[in-house]
Subunit: 139 residues, 3 copies
Amino acid sequence: MKQVATILEFSTRRQGLVEITRHVTDWVAEAGFRQGLLTLFCRHTSASLLIQENAAPEVRADLEAYFARIAPEDPSVYAHDDEGLDDMPAHLRTALTQVQLSIPLIDGRLALGTWQGIYLFEHRRRPHRRTVAAHLLGA
Amino acid sequence: MKQVATILEFSTRRQGLVEITRHVTDWVAEAGFRQGLLTLFCRHTSASLLIQENAAPEVRADLEAYFARIAPEDPSVYAHDDEGLDDMPAHLRTALTQVQLSIPLIDGRLALGTWQGIYLFEHRRRPHRRTVAAHLLGA
Amino acid sequence: MKQVATILEFSTRRQGLVEITRHVTDWVAEAGFRQGLLTLFCRHTSASLLIQENAAPEVRADLEAYFARIAPEDPSVYAHDDEGLDDMPAHLRTALTQVQLSIPLIDGRLALGTWQGIYLFEHRRRPHRRTVAAHLLGA
């Protein structure tokens, strides 16, 4: 068994879901493994990773609106606002989703379901440069 | 080190938690590894995986009721309802839990705690056929 | 490629986040790998793992207060209270976060971001002894 690792970089423009499936599958394909395990790790506390439906765009809009409702920008409830009103909600939305995903590689392909896409979930309002550590082991 | 992978299949009958611990441990046992790492990946956006208490059944009922409250079926708040009122809440409950779990294998056993069971969390009302990719590496 | 595994033990004193980054990095360093994958698995249903900001302490206080609000101690809504009012909320807060984390090891270091720390999130009010299974593979 062999392993490869890298740091993938993404630029985000606003709050919301950015599909990164293609970037990830392209990197995985380079290794040429038939079977293995991919791990993605988002190196931030105000952005996260999410597997979600890649078909209907309304799903993504509803998801973004939902997380804005359950972890709202509300100056009356947070002690931490060093970087603005969207700072603490960004940490909460990251905690409610996750910063890490592992996906098996079977028969030369990531075992994603038909409707599953890999998304980087930007929780800050301003554009950010985000890095995701990627590790692949296999043969 | 060696690796094996497969697609596990499960039939769900209604919304709620379905324990899959035995299916998983049976598959892991076949490989005969002493030490390793198991990864499960649910290939859907309206069903998820959860580690929860396998003792008191009230825990599971309370969990199901809780997720129904924080991500409710409410026609007034979602744009996406292609497949019915339970469609968008299913995506949200999946996002709030997770589709992937990795569990170390130590001394020939998955390192689950005494009260931990592995559950498939069905978020749709109708019966579904669900697939979970399983990858095990070890020796 | 090689693998090592162990059970890490932690004592918690009260509800809240306990940073375990140093314990984890010390254990990882012992293996002397340059590249690999670390997996941590919390063997409980009322404590979880979280990557969060290790700089501003207000972030942790806000996080703890937030989870107390969205999964409150409320005797009127839960059937399960075998071990007290904080019992069922502990299961819910565990479900909303996660019990497992995997982090790539690149160039001899865990690929944590500058502001990321690894936390054990104790959801019970009384002190507990918690165990986290740790698995590291690499070379």
